[in-house]
Every structure is written in C-alpha cells, then in structure tokens.
C-alpha cells in the first residue's frame, strides 16, 4: 500500500468512525464529541501556522473571537440567518488575519509571539470597550429561533453533531490537501529553514501571510460554529486563556500532524472532565500531564506515533 493510500484509509477511517459514533454514543459523550470536533477545527487552524509554518502565535483567540463575533453581530444587528452569519464570521476572521499578518509578520520568534499576544489583548479589550453592542464580558445568547438553518434546528443534538462533523471533515480534508500541495511543502520548507527557502526563490513573506490567513479563517470558522451550535457569544472566548488552549492541544496531539490537533483536543477535554471528578484543582492534573508529556513525549501523541511507528503520517 502506498503512503497516500494509507493516509486516505486512516483519515477516512477516522471520519467514518466519528460518523458511526453518532448512533451509539450515550447522550453526554455525544454532546462532548460535537464540542470537541468544533474545538479541534480551531486547533487545526492553529496547526497550519504553528505546526506546518513554524509560526508560534499567542493570539489566536483573536481569530476565534473574530469568527464568533462576526457571526454573532451579523445575527444580532443584521438579523442574518445561520448560513450568511457563518460567512460573516469567516470574512471577519480572514480580514483580521490579513491585517494582523501584514503587521506581525514583520517580526519573528519571540517578538512575533508578543505582537500576536498584544493584538489579541487589544481585541479582547475592544470587545469590552464596545460593550453597548457586544454586551462585553457577559455576552449574549443566540436564541433557538435564530439558529434555524433552512429548516434545520442547529440546537438539536443530532443536527449539532452533524454540523460539527461536516465542518470537521471539511477542515481535515482541507488540511490534508494543503500539506500534500506544493504550497504546503513550501510552508514546511520555511519552517525547516527560512533562509534556504528564500534563497530558492520563494516569496517567504507572501507564503507566510497566506498561511496566517488560512489559519485565521479556519480558527474563525470554529469560533463562528461554536457560537452558532452552543448558542452563546461572549468575551471570555477572546481572552488570553483561549489563545493558550490551541497551543496546548496541538502540542499534546503533535504539531505538524493532521490528526494531532483532534487527538490533543480530545485528550485534554477528557483529562479535565475526568479529573474534575477527583479534585477541584483539576488543572493541577493538566499541569502535571503537560510536564510529563514534554519530558517523555516531546513530539506529542501523534508525533511520537509518527517518529516510532507510522513514518508516513502527514
């Protein structure tokens, strides 16, 4: 079997499994998985920049929130239905990402981290500052009636699961396609050695900028979907914490792998959910897990699998 076939088989198998789980999972885990798939899209978006292009951003909550508020504001102010609202979210994410990329990509390394962090912080404060429209930290509810898409009620558990699944599947396929494409290969080349990529004649800045826009738009898609599927838009999702999360998920799952973001999100979600049954200081367990993983599985779960067993993993 060629590597390509194996890739199709593995990722197709995961999608088939997720589709099948819809019919067997108990209600609680069914709901969780829908949530995890949406968040995994966020992590996949993050991974395009961090895992494949080598750009460590600490401000991705800005994109997630841009999508969420782009969607939410379209619903709230323009009375948009879910489909156009979702597009509103994507446009907001792409525009914010293009603006941020154009400025922040003038810097590199730690300065890039800080610049993204600062812009995200300004974005968070702006949501609070314009509280008369955004309702600030308190946020607002997307009512059930506003979540009807062409007769489909997105607040229904089954519909929500399918919506999350479709989004997840589209993004996973897009990422797989991206990393196999010549464009994706240039991104990896930039990650490995920016100088060499430049000397080979590639326009590094342009490639990076497109990576930022793709990453930002995918993160925004997750934000918009999250608001739409779970009915709430709030400033918390723009805070620093939500910039750190995708970094953690991706690192846990394996940076620069297509499956890593999903596995990382899944792992972290259940780690917190199960440990909160044991102690209120459940983040302690998350902290210990992070330290242990960096000590013993530095490439993340899927990254370790790739370096030890399946070398063909994309």
């Amino acid at each position: 079997m060629s590597d390509r076939q194996k890739t199709v088989l593995l990722h197709g198998g995961l999608l088939a499994l997720l589709l099948g789980l819809q019919f067997v999972l108990p209600a609680y885990h069914h709901g969780n998985l829908a949530r995890i798939m949406v968040l995994a899209v966020y992590a996949m978006g993050y991974n395009i920049m961090f895992g494949y292009t080598g750009l460590l951003s600490l401000g991705h909550a800005l994109f997630f929130a841009a999508g969420m508020y782009g969607m939410g504001m379209s619903v709230q102010l323009l009375g948009a239905t879910p489909a156009p609202a979702m597009i509103g979210g994507l446009i907001a994410g792409a525009v914010v990402a293009a603006a941020l990329g154009a400025l922040a990509l003038r810097t590199a390394d730690v300065a890039f981290m800080i610049v993204t962090l600062m812009f995200a912080q300004a974005g968070y404060l702006a949501v609070l500052y314009f509280g008369s429209v955004t309702r600030g930290d308190e946020g607002f509810v997307i009512q059930q009636a506003q979540r009807m898409m062409m007769g489909i009620d997105l607040s229904d558990a089954t519909n929500r699961y399918f919506a999350a699944f479709i989004l997840f599947a589209l993004c996973l396929i897009a990422v797989l396609w991206l990393v196999q494409s010549p464009f994706g290969k240039v991104l990896v080349a930039i990650r490995e050695n920016e100088e060499r990529a430049r000397m080979l004649g590639y326009d590094v800045f342009r490639h990076k900028l497109i990576a930022v826009i793709l990453s930002g738009t995918m993160s925004a898609a997750a934000g918009a979907a999250y608001g739409l599927l779970f009915g709430y838009v709030g400033a918390t999702f723009a805070s620093v914490q939500y910039s750190i999360f995708p970094l953690l998920w991706v690192l846990l799952g394996g940076a620069g792998t297509a499956l890593g973001p999903f596995i990382g999100t899944l792992f972290m979600f259940y780690l917190i959910d199960l440990s909160s049954n044991v102690t209120s200081a459940y983040m302690l367990i998350a902290g210990v897990a992070l330290v242990v993983l960096t000590l013993f599985a530095p490439q993340g779960l899927i990254g370790e699998v790739r370096s030890r067993i399946w070398r063909w993993l994309p």
Partner: protein, 308 residues
C-alpha cells in the same frame, strides 16, 4: 483635578508600577538572556512570593514591620529554591529546548497555581505595610503674576509607595553590580555570550543555569513582597506581571538589563499617564496597540541592537 497635579499623581502611581515591573522583568530578562528560554511560569513565581509573604508575616506576628522584614528575606529565598528544583528536574532534562520549555513551564504554571489554590485558598489576603503615612503633595500656581503654593484635592502618595520605588532602585543597582563586578556575574555573561565556548572553558553551565533560574524567580518574588502591602496576595495574580514583563523584556531588547529597566519605566509611566487623557479601557487598548506597533516597526526593541 487640574492637568498638572493629575499628571504628577499619575506619574507617581506609574513609578510604583514601574519599580515593581522592573524587578520582575529583570528576573525574566536574566533567564531569557542567559538561558535563551521563555519562562511562562515567571508570573507564578511572582504570585508565590506574595503568598509566601502573607504566610511568613502571618506566622511571625508582632509588629507589622517584623513580619514584613522576615518575608522580605524568606519569601524570595524559598521561591528561588523552588525554581532551582523545577530547573533541575524538568528544564535540564528537556535540554532547554525553546518550544518544549514553553510547554513545560505552562505545566509548571498550572501546578504552582493549583497547589496554591488547594493550600492557600481562593481569597485575596492583605499583608500589613511596615509603615504607611499619607503624604499630601503641594502644587504651585500663578496668581497675579506670583507663585503660590496650594494642596490640590487628592494629590498625595504614601511613604510606603515611595519606599517601594527606592527599594527597587537599590536592588536593581545590586543586580547590576553583581553582573558587572563579581565572578558569578562574569560567568553568567560568558554563558550568555556563547554557551559552547563557556563549556569548553570549563564553566559549569548547568549550575549557572540553575542559579540564574533561581535568581530570576527570586527577583519576581521580591517584587511581589514589595507590592503585597499595596495589593493583596491572590492565586491568580501572576497573569498580569507575566504579560507586562514579557512586553518590557521585548521592548527593552532581549536580554539587555539596562534596556529592560528603561522599558519598565517607560511602560509603567505611560500606563499611568495615558490614563489621564483617555477613558480607562480605551487607554489600555491604546497602550497595548502601541507596544505591538513598536515591536512591529522595531523588532529588536527600543533599546536593543539589531542582530541581523
């Protein structure tokens, strides 16, 4: 309040912020400069300093000054010891790889924060200042072509706040003297310049790293002990100092101590003074954007030297 006295008051407040920030950021800058790693748990070392200060002051009892003096010595030392342990058990083992260090220190951040929550609890607790007199400040105005002194409403500071500024200054001079004049400072600078050569010359780089990491954490803790009589010890208080020190270290030029101190003064003062002219949240937004734009157009920092 008229604009003159207001700016003076905002500057005084900004100077206290700057003093504490300078200490915290110099700690982070030392670690970054010598070890080339980003310590995300730096803010938690700050928080630990404040919490331990409360604990020491509480256990000692007696006059507030006694407990505070004890805290000033014990808390930074304890925090430094904890940091050294973290360095030897975790950071050393991942060989100070920049990215893995970020994740590991995020893990350490959660561990410290949650252990504090489990033991110290979720409350904000005060430490009594050793002395605290309100000092009203006079202002001058021209009346009929003559200088006249008066006491504007609300224009004041406290003796404790002034002493925080002084104490931070003394400590910073001490750090500078240590780096410039002592053997350990020389070894640190050698390691910072070139780790490989330092190793080749028989400098115990690993021990230097442990000392630097401990010192960085100790400075953050010291800053926290100084501020805790003004603010309170709380298990989530580490977030802001971390963000601000990051900004300061970058603006000051990575690893440059004088740059870090200058940047701390700049950021501390501008935080105070910008709030004079804009509504508070807008001021925060503008200050944040300003920092970002400085970095975009001067990535080496305001006081850094361009390396490439």
């Amino acid at each position: 309040m008229e604009i003159g006295p207001y700016i003076l008051l905002a500057s005084l407040e900004g100077a206290v912020t700057a003093a504490v920030l300078a200490l915290t950021a110099v700690g982070l800058s030392l670690v970054f400069g010598v070890m080339r790693v980003v310590n995300v748990a730096h803010g938690e070392f700050f928080m630990l300093g404040a919490v331990l200060a409360w604990w020491v002051a509480q256990s000692v009892g007696g006059h507030p000054a006694v407990g505070f003096a004890a805290a000033l010595v014990i808390a930074p030392l304890l925090v430094a010891a904890i940091a050294v342990v973290a360095d030897m058990t975790v950071l050393k083992r991942i060989e100070y790889d920049p990215e893995r260090t970020i994740v590991a220190t995020i893990g350490i951040l959660y561990i410290i924060q949650q252990v504090t929550l489990m033991t110290y609890g979720p409350d904000a607790r005060p430490v009594e200042p050793p002395f605290n007199t309100r000092l009203a400040i006079p202002w001058f105005e021209f009346v009929d072509g003559k200088f006249q002194m008066y006491w504007p409403w609300g224009l004041s500071t406290t003796s404790y706040k002034l002493s925080v500024i002084a104490a931070a200054g003394v400590v910073l001079v001490g750090v500078w003297l240590m780096m410039a004049r002592t053997k350990i400072g020389l070894l640190m600078r050698a390691t910072q310049l070139d780790r490989e050569t330092a190793l080749a010359f028989g400098i115990p780089v690993e021990r230097i790293y442990a000392i630097v990491f401990g010192m960085g954490a100790g400075l953050a803790a010291l800053a926290a002990v100084l501020i805790v009589p003004i603010q309170q010890a709380h298990y989530l208080m580490g977030g802001d100092p971390l963000l601000l020190s990051f900004i300061v270290v970058i603006i000051g030029g990575l690893g440059s101590l004088p740059g870090t101190v200058l940047a701390a003064i700049l950021i501390g003062l501008s935080d105070g003074i910008i709030s004079v002219f804009f509504s508070p949240t807008l001021a925060k937004i503008l200050a944040t954007l300003l920092v970002a734009l400085v970095l975009v157009f001067r990535p080496q920092g305001l006081f850094g030297v361009k390396t490439r």
